[in-house]
């Protein structure tokens, strides 16, 4: 009897919803417009701890602190540009998922286009030279013509008549 009640207790305890262990993100902004702005900013800022995640995605402590910064600064009435500048001033351009166009990033921005252009040019030239080669029909002697015709089943000299 004791063991049955123990089993019952265990099963019952599994049915009780436990408070979430992970700690759900509690929305702090009552204003939905500000909330949307905060999320948009956070989705464009890189978390420096887990470098391939935005601070919106990451649950690293630094990302949480930076999210708090973004929300506080929005509440203080700062513009998006000011908040981004605040982050860049501290962490460099690396925090931006979209790096600015400047001398050191020219290759990054335009390199793929240049590669595409170079590849296209190479392909174009290659195709043209090949087309030039194919344009001249192969010259056959009459003997070869006859042989080709017989192989194709048309009989000798039939097509040359």
């Amino acid at each position: 009897m004791k063991s049955i009640s123990a089993v019952f207790l265990v099963v019952a305890s599994l049915c009780v919803p436990l408070p979430s262990m992970g700690g759900e993100a509690v929305p702090t902004d009552a204003d939905r417009v500000l909330q949307k702005r905060a999320i948009e900013l956070e989705e464009n800022l890189r978390c420096l701890v887990c470098q391939n995640q935005t601070i919106a995605d990451s649950n690293a402590e630094l990302a949480q602190d930076l999210r708090r910064q973004v929300r506080e600064q929005i509440a203080q009435g700062r513009t998006d540009a000011e908040i981004v500048a605040y982050m860049v001033q501290r962490y460099g351009d690396f925090v931006l998922y979209k790096p600015p166009v400047k001398a050191t990033t020219l290759l990054l921005w335009f390199g793929p286009g240049l590669l595409l252009l170079a590849g296209g040019l190479a392909l174009f030239r290659n195709v043209r030279t090949r087309a030039g080669k194919r344009a001249a029909p192969p010259e056959l002697t009459s003997e070869e013509h006859a042989r080709a015709s017989s192989l194709l089943g048309g009989g000798p000299g039939k097509d040359s008549a």
Binding site: L48, V49, Q51, E61, L62, D65, L66, Q69, V88, Q89, R90, Y91, G92, D93, F94
Partner: protein, 175 residues
């Protein structure tokens, strides 16, 4: 023969780029704060919480700011290096105790030795953000006029200390 030259050339260039890329450490993000004035802070001291300390108190001397925490594993790795540095009395080291519990921080210093002139408490990590801290430990070399001259990301190793930090400190102390 000629038709192999171009692909081979492209391959060599690509391999060279990838080889360099492999040697870079993606965790070392160059700090935009180097050659800029130290961000201002005013924080309570770890040993005497009623006393405040600001970066202005160090004006006129070359100093190191070491960001540390008792929960930080790599801090243990660099700690003996800092303790030895403190014994040599070459340069004062200020500790920025980052997002730590004062009790645990004090116990940690008691256990491993205290190389700091003093430590200040940045419990909510706001000063850390001003310093662009993203991976504890980090160490800043700051000159007499309060300008950051170098940032070491990750533990201060003996090689980093002898090869980079101390030569820079000596040079800054002379000027």
């Amino acid at each position: 023969m000629n038709r192999f030259v171009l692909p081979l050339g492209i391959f060599i260039v690509l391999a060279a780029f990838l080889a360099v890329g492999l040697r870079l450490n993606p965790r070392e993000v160059p700090s935009p704060l180097v050659d800029k004035p130290v961000p201002a802070f005013k924080l309570a001291q770890l040993a005497q919480p009623e006393m405040e300390f600001t970066q202005k108190d160090m004006l006129g001397q070359v100093w190191l700011l070491n960001v540390w925490a008792s929960w930080c594993v790599s801090c243990r790795e660099e700690h003996p290096v800092l303790v030895d540095l403190a014994k040599a009395r070459v340069v004062p080291v200020i500790g920025l105790n980052y997002k730590d519990k004062p009790q645990e921080a004090k116990a940690w210093l008691k256990q491993f030795g205290d190389p700091y002139m003093l430590s200040v408490m940045d419990q909510d990590g706001r000063v850390g953000i001003d310093y662009g801290v993203y991976g504890v430990p980090e160490t800043f070399v700051i000159d007499r006029t309060g300008v950051i001259r170098y940032k070491q990301i990750g533990p201060v190793t003996r090689e980093a200390l002898e090869g980079k930090i101390l030569p820079l400190v000596r040079q800054l102390q002379k000027s």
